[in-house]
């Protein structure tokens, strides 16, 4: 699915990623953990193709294609989904309109017929129910006036609708209370499948209580310094990031 080799990336000339290597196979869920400023969000954004980040060397292969060579919207249409840490607000544009524009551009790209208004409405209602989102939110401007939890739920709704091959969830747990976290996690678990891979970027272990990963990686100083199974997350929780950083330095 995804093969990251020796990835280096800068932001405003400052190196953030300093040689990341990561292999993700179809159907796997990987958690990327690390202290603040370790480059977790940079990695997520580089995968989605944000302009502010400059890839200085390395490669990312996604389903046989050179991901770094693709425009952000092409990546999206090919099935790369980023759930934003800070979803943006777009005044005047309803959630409904954005979702329809998005799903139809993805479908068009995939050569599937675009949905008409009725089909779309049916689909959206079904997915909204899945993430327990009230219908009124669909008719409000994108993320405007949404609480933190509602915004994150909206991200999961979009993921459910676009049915990506690879989902990258950037700090989806940040700012959520436990109930919101459970709902979001439940949505993610429903979308988990043999055909879909996921990358969970998180600072805390608690998200992993609800979404159990196949692998856990620790990102620090722009590199993955340790990888392991889900038990690694628990160990981190107990011993803190200093523990792996010291080990890596030693």
């Amino acid at each position: 699915m995804l093969s990251i080799k020796n990835l280096h990336a800068d932001i405003e000339g400052k190196p953030i990623l300093k040689g990341v290597n990561l292999e993700i196979r179809t159907g796997e869920v990987h958690a990327i953990m690390g202290p603040n400023g370790s480059g977790k969000s940079t990695l997520a954004n580089v995968l989605a193709g944000r302009d502010d980040y400059e890839v200085t060397s390395g490669s990312v292969e996604y389903r046989g294609m050179d991901l770094l060579d693709m425009e952000p919207e092409i990546r999206a249409r090919e099935g790369v989904f980023l759930a934003f840490q800070y979803p943006v607000e777009i005044p005047g544009v309803t959630n409904m309109y954005l979702l329809k524009a998005a799903i139809n551009s993805v479908r068009k790209h995939r050569g599937v017929e675009e949905l008409d208004a009725r089909e779309f409405l049916k689909l959206i209602k079904e997915k909204a129910a899945m993430v327990e989102m009230k219908q009124e939110f669909l008719y409000r401007s994108v993320n405007q006036g949404f609480s933190g939890g509602e915004k994150k739920r909206n991200e999961i709704l979009q993921m459910a609708l676009l049915e990506p091959h690879l989902s990258v969830l950037d700090e989806t747990d940040s700012g959520l209370d436990i109930d919101a976290l459970k709902i979001v996690a439940q949505g993610v678990n429903l979308l988990r499948s043999e055909q879909r891979s996921m990358v969970l970027v998180t600072h805390y272990q608690r998200l992993l209580d609800y979404i159990v990963p196949d692998y856990v990686h620790v990102l620090a100083g722009g590199r993955i310094i340790r990888s392991g199974g889900k038990e690694l997350a628990l160990e981190l929780e107990q011993k803190g990031y200093g523990w792996v950083e010291d080990q890596a330095a030693a």
Partner: protein, 483 residues
Amino acid sequence: MSNSEKDLAPLLQRDYTEGFVTDIDSETLPPGLDEDVIRTISEKKNEPEWMLQWRLGAFKRWLKMAPPRWAHLHHPPVDFQDISYYSAPKKRDLLDSLDEVDPKLLETYEKLGIPIDEQKMLAGVKVAVDAVFDSVSVATTFKQTLLDAGVIFCPISEALQAYPELVKQYLGSVVPSADNFYAALNSAVFSDGSFVYIPKGVRCPMELSTYFRINEMNTGQFERTLIVAEEDSYVSYLEGCTAPMRDENQLHAAVVELVAMKGAQIKYSTVQNWYPGDENGKGGIYNFVTKRGACRGQGAKISWTQVETGSAITWKYPSVVLEGDDTIGEFYSVALTNNYQQADTGTKMIHVGKNSRSTIISKGISAGKGQNAYRGLVKVLKGAENARNYSQCDSLLMGDQCGAHTFPYMEVKNPSAVVEHEATTSRIGEDQLFYCRQRGMSEEDAVSMIVNGFCKEVFKELPMEFAVEAQKLLGISLEGSVG
């Protein structure tokens, strides 16, 4: 590759498809303005003497006036002696039937998508059209159908012949002949425009529309529109404008007067698409327009909606004088300036009557090196008990070379009035664009969608067939976004 400082303006770039020239024989007065020119115009139109005297009076006042300089606009002075004040396609008699219209003119309007054939419809709706070409009206459709309903819709030159008393009664009653520099000029030299009269209790059976076209070189267009809505009547009127692409600046100085009697409603919509000049700021129309409506009777309502995308210079402030009690004035505006375009536009709401209410929604979009200013006055006079105004002026900036300015004036002399003004400035953020692209939309679509969202409150005020055109002008895909 980091390009967060990238200029988004090209995404708003569009070709000016209306920029062609119609090759037609015209009778054009040589450039220059004096009393003789005014006499000639009046004579050509076979006007009554009082009309000539009115024009000459305005001209005398104009000679003593200077162009206004308070607007946030910069342009070289206009040489008013270097403009031709009258130009008309040859061989025109009063037409009884559309069949007699010069085929070249028919072709021109065909190309512009304006139905001056009664069988054709605009966006699936029957609309009556008055087509004004340079200084004269060349065709008016559905005249008879409208007359059957009691509605007069004809060129103002024709109204001066057929209904001189009506014209005399209302002309200059809202915008006096020497109201301002450009209005005085217009009063002296206006050549054509539309006249609309809706009798008491009549709801005009279809949308009325005037389509203005400048064709001749070095010609100014000075049209005059007068709409009178008698008690409890209703009319919706649309106005569109285009011009060929030329390297010289051309002048357009129109006057529009609206009169709404007790309980009457006038909805006036404009999609202004004069040639804006090229991407280096060369050429384009100078658009200096005076538009004002008077809500004369109790409960009258006047609503201005404008989408201003063209012109090198736009100077216009469609206003409402709320004379009657319980009257309503509305102003909805989208103004786009790209490249070197400049706009100074807004409104005046003058509250005279009790319980008069006004709403102002203005959306300015600046891109390239465009300068966009909102200028508005809300004035509540002493007797205007319980007057209410709400104004909202938002600016959207695209790129770091453009400007967005807001100059509201509020003058309140009655303590029971509530006047509120809000303004915000935003830009199309990189983060918004990236978010949309991450969901699979192209950058162009994302910009369109965001601009559309920004303008939504105004577009929804436009009649459907105009909303289509307005959105096309802003390069916006339509689907599902209006309503």
